[in-house]
Symmetry: none
C-alpha cells in the first residue's frame, strides 16, 4: 500500500508554519504498513492543488490531503478536488445544518460564508468534523482513495483516526512495518555505520539506517512482516545484533535519553548525583530533571557562572582561578570535588568552557570545554574541543551530552572514549 | 522567480523528523522575492529523488535540495542528481583533501567511506562545507539552477546564505516580502488578536496574523513592497502600531527571547540576578545563560531539587517545609529570599511546583507552581495553575517564561498580570 501526503496552505509554503501534519500522518501510515512515497506541499492555489492531487492519485493507493477546507476565499481544496475528479460541487443541506449546529454550541449564528463548507464534489463521501466547522471529503480517483481533511492538527488527527484508520487497516492486508531507533553517543556517524555496514545494505528487511541528531547518532530499524508478531521478532533480532556490535555506545532506544539511562543506573545502585555548571548554565541539571522521579537520585545543582560563585558555592580557591583561568582543567577539578563534597552526593559532574560566540582565544578557543567527574572511584577531568564552528547552543548541548555520557560510562565501568575527548586527566580525587 | 524546495530522507517520510528546513528556506526565498511553488519530500531512494529533481527543474527556476549527502550507503542524492543530469560522478581530489582536513581538525583520520562525499556529477559546481563533511553541489538542469545542500540545518543554512543568496538576490526582479514577528507573553491569543483585529483583516498589506508558541503569542507581520525600502517602511509602521496597542505585553521581536529582554534591562540598570529552582530544575538559569554575555548580570543559580538542598543551599527552615510542603507559597518565599541574600544579587527568582506527570493531589495538582521574586522593592510570590492537562516539559517551560516575565515586568515597573497568575501574595521581603 503506497501513500502520498499532501499539505495545502500559503502559510506552509511561506515558511510561517512548520508542517507537522505530514510527520504525524507519516508515523501513523508507517505503523499501518503503508509505504510513504512523498510529502508534497502546495499553496492556496486551485490549479497547483488539483495537479498535486491528480499526480499523487496516479502513483499512490492512498492520498492524504490536509488544509484548504476553511470558509474563506483562499480555501480552494474543495474546488481543486472537484476539478481533479471532473465532478461539480453540490450543496448538501444536512451538512449546512451540522455546521450551523457547531456554531450554535458556542451560542453563535453561522456566518453565511461557512455554507461553502457544505459543498462536496458529486459522488464523493462527506466526512463529519466533530470538533470544527470543516467537514472532510473522500473520493476515488485513478484507483486511489483521496482522503481530504482540515489543516487544523487536532481536527485532522481525530478525522484520520476515526475514518481513515479503519479503512487503511482493512486494506493493508496485514502487512505491518515497525520502526525503532537505537541511540548512541560518543562516535561519529561513519564510525557507527562502519560497524553495522552489512546490516545497512539496501534491500534488507529489517532495513537499517543511521541519522545524526544533536551529536547523537541514531540507528533506525524498519522491520516489515506479514503479522505484527513477525515484524516484532525481526526487529528485536536486528536490535540485538546492533547492540552486540555497538556495545556500550548504545545508551537507549526510542524516546530514551542519556538522562534516562543515567537515571536507571543510579537507581539500580541507590546512588545520587549533583552538578556544578559554568558554561552549560544549568542545562545538565535541567536535563537530569527532565526525567520524572529524578528526585530519587538528583540532589542539587549549582550554576556558578561568575568566578565569585565558583568560590562561594564550590570552594574553588580564587587564586587557582587567577592562576589557570576559569576555563581550565584545574578549575574543573576543584569545581567537581567541591560539588560532590558539599552536596554529599555519590557522583558529581562539573563543566567549565567557552560556549561562544565571544570569549575565545587562540589558546582557549570557542568550544573548549572541561568536564569533571568525581565519584566513588576518584576524579577525572576531560578536555573537549568541540570546534569553533559550533554555535553557542550546540557547544552547550554537546557539553551536556558529553558529561552525561561520561557519567553513564563510569557507572557501567566502561572505558569508551568519546570522539572529542582528549587529554584524559586522572586527578587526585576524593574517592 | 519560481522555486521548489526538495527535502530528502527516510526520517522525514517516516515522520521521525519534522521538516524544518523547508520552512526556513521558504522564509528566505520569500524574502528574496521568489514564488515558492511547492515543497516535496522524498525518502532515501535514488529513483524517487531523481524524479523529484527532474520534475522540479522543469517547473521552477531554482530547485533547493537538502539531505542525502552523508557518507553512508543510504545517502543517495549525489547519485540521483548525476542520473537526473545524465552526467556520471567523478572524484575531486581537492575535496577529499578538504574533508580529510575537517577530520584532522578534530585529531582524527578520515574514514575511507567519507571519500564518497568528494564525488560530484561531471560539469557540476562543488560547494564547500565549512562546518561539516558534506560539500554541496550546484548544477543546471532544464534551465533551472539545482542547489543541493546537506540536511543538517546548521550546515544547510550557512551554505544557503553564503552561496545561494548572492545568486538569488542578483536574479530577483525587485519585489520584496519582509516578515517579522513581535512576541508577547502573559495573555491568550484571542485577547492579543482582539486588540489588533482591524490590522488582521484579510487583504491588507502588511498582513498581520497571530500564532501561539510555547505559551508565547507571536504577532507576525508580512510586508510586501516594490523595493526593500518600501517593504521595510510599511513593516516598521505596522510594528509601531502593534507595539502601541499591546504595550508592555510585547517583550521582543524576531529572535529575541524573554531572557534577552531581561538581560537588556539588567544591563541598563547595572543590576544582577540569581536563581533558585526546584520544579524548573535549572531551566531558568539555562535560559538566562542562553544569552551570550549574560555573565555581566547572572551571578549564580542553585537547583534545590531535594528538601535537604533547599535547607543547605538556601537556608529554607526544615520545619517550614514540613509545615507547608515543599510546593507552597511559604517555601517559595523562603527560597527566593535565601537565594537573593546568599548570592548578593539585586534580584532573585525562585520556583517550586509540581511538574508531573506524577506527584499531583486534589489540593496541589500537576501544574501548580509558585514563582517567587525578590528585589530592591520587596518580595512577592505568585501562584500559577498551569493546568493538569499539560505535560512535564510544558509545565516546566511555562513556569520558566512566567518567572522571566515577572522579573521583566518588575524591572519595567509594569503591573500586568499574567493570564495564569493568581493570588498575588506580597511578602515581607528583604528589599
Amino acid at each position: 500500500m503506497k501513500a502520498i501526503i499532501i499539505s495545502i496552505g500559503d502559510e506552509l509554503l511561506l515558511g510561517r508554519t512548520v508542517d507537522t501534519n505530514s510527520a504525524w500522518l507519516s508515523q501513523q501510515l508507517a505503523g499501518l504498513g503503508a509505504t510513504i512515497l512523498a510529502h508534497v506541499t502546495v499553496g492556496d492555489d486551485q490549479a497547483e492543488t488539483r495537479d498535486a492531487i491528480d499526480q499523487a492519485a496516479r502513483r499512490a493507493d492512498w492520498v492524504l490531503v490536509s488544509g484548504g477546507l476553511g470558509p474563506t476565499p483562499d480555501d480552494l481544496t474543495r474546488e481543486a478536488l472537484a476539478e481533479a475528479l471532473g465532478a461539480p460541487l453540490e450543496l448538501r443541506e444536512e451538512f449546512v445544518e451540522q455546521i450551523a449546529g457547531f456554531f450554535r454550541r458556542f451560542g453563535k449564528e453561522m456566518p453565511e460564508r461557512n455554507k461553502v463548507q457544505a459543498m462536496f464534489p458529486i459522488g464523493s463521501t462527506a466526512i463529519e468534523n466533530t470538533c470544527g466547522t470543516a467537514p472532510g471529503v473522500q473520493a476515488r480517483l485513478h484507483d486511489a482513495e483521496v482522503f481530504v481533511m482540515p489543516g487544523v492538527p487536532r481536527e485532522m488527527k481525530i478525522m484520520f483516526e476515526r475514518d481513515a484508520v479503519p479503512q487503511l487497516s482493512a486494506r493493508s492486508g496485514g502487512k505491518v512495518i515497525l520502526t525503532e531507533t537505537l541511540w548512541t553517543f560518543g562516535q561519529g556517524e561513519s564510525t557507527v555505520a562502519a560497524r553495522i555496514a552489512d546490516l545497512m545494505e539496501r534491500g534488507r528487511n529489517p532495513a537499517v539506517g543511521t541519522t545524526a541528531y544533536d551529536a547523537k547518532i541514531g540507528v533506525r530499524i524498519f522491520s516489515g512482516g506479514n503479522t505484527r508478531a513477525e515484524a516484532e521478532r525481526l526487529l528485536e533480532a536486528t536490535a540485538d545484533e546492533i547492540r552486540a556490535r555497538l556495545g556500550a555506545l548504545v545508551y537507549g532506544r526510542g524516546e530514551e535519553t542519556l538522562a534516562d539511562a543515567v537515571g536507571v543506573l543510579l537507581r539500580e545502585r541507590g546512588q545520587t548525583v549533583a552538578t556544578a555548571e559554568s558554561c552549560t548554565g544549568g542545562l545538565i541539571a535541567k536535563t537530569l530533571t527532565d526525567v520524572s522521579g529524578s528526585s530519587a537520585y538528583f540532589l542539587s545543582g549549582v550554576v556558578t557562572y561568575s568566578n565569585a560563585a565558583k568560590t562561594a558555592l564550590l570552594g574553588v580557591p580564587a587564586d587557582l582561578i587567577a592562576e589557570h583561568g576559569a576555563v581550565s582543567s584545574e578549575v574543573a577539578e576543584a569545581m567537581v570535588i567541591g560539588c560532590r563534597g558539599r552536596a554529599g552526593a555519590d557522583w558529581a559532574l562539573a563543566t567549565t568552557g567557552i560556549a561562544g560566540p565571544t570569549g575565545g582565544t587562540a589558546e582557549k578557543p570557542v568550544g573548549l570545554v572541561y568536564v569533571g567527574l568525581d565519584g566513588p572511584d576518584g576524579c577525572q577531568v576531560r578536555e573537549y574541543r568541540l570546534g569553533e564552528h559550533l554555535g553557542r547552543d550546540d557547544v552547550r548541548s554537546r557539553s551536556r551530552w558529553a558529561a552525561l555520557s561520561l557519567l553513564r560510562l563510569c557507572l557501567l565501568g566502561e572505558k569508551i572514549d568519546s570522539t572529542w575527548s582528549r587529554v584524559p586527566r586522572p586527578c587526585g580525587g576524593t574517592g
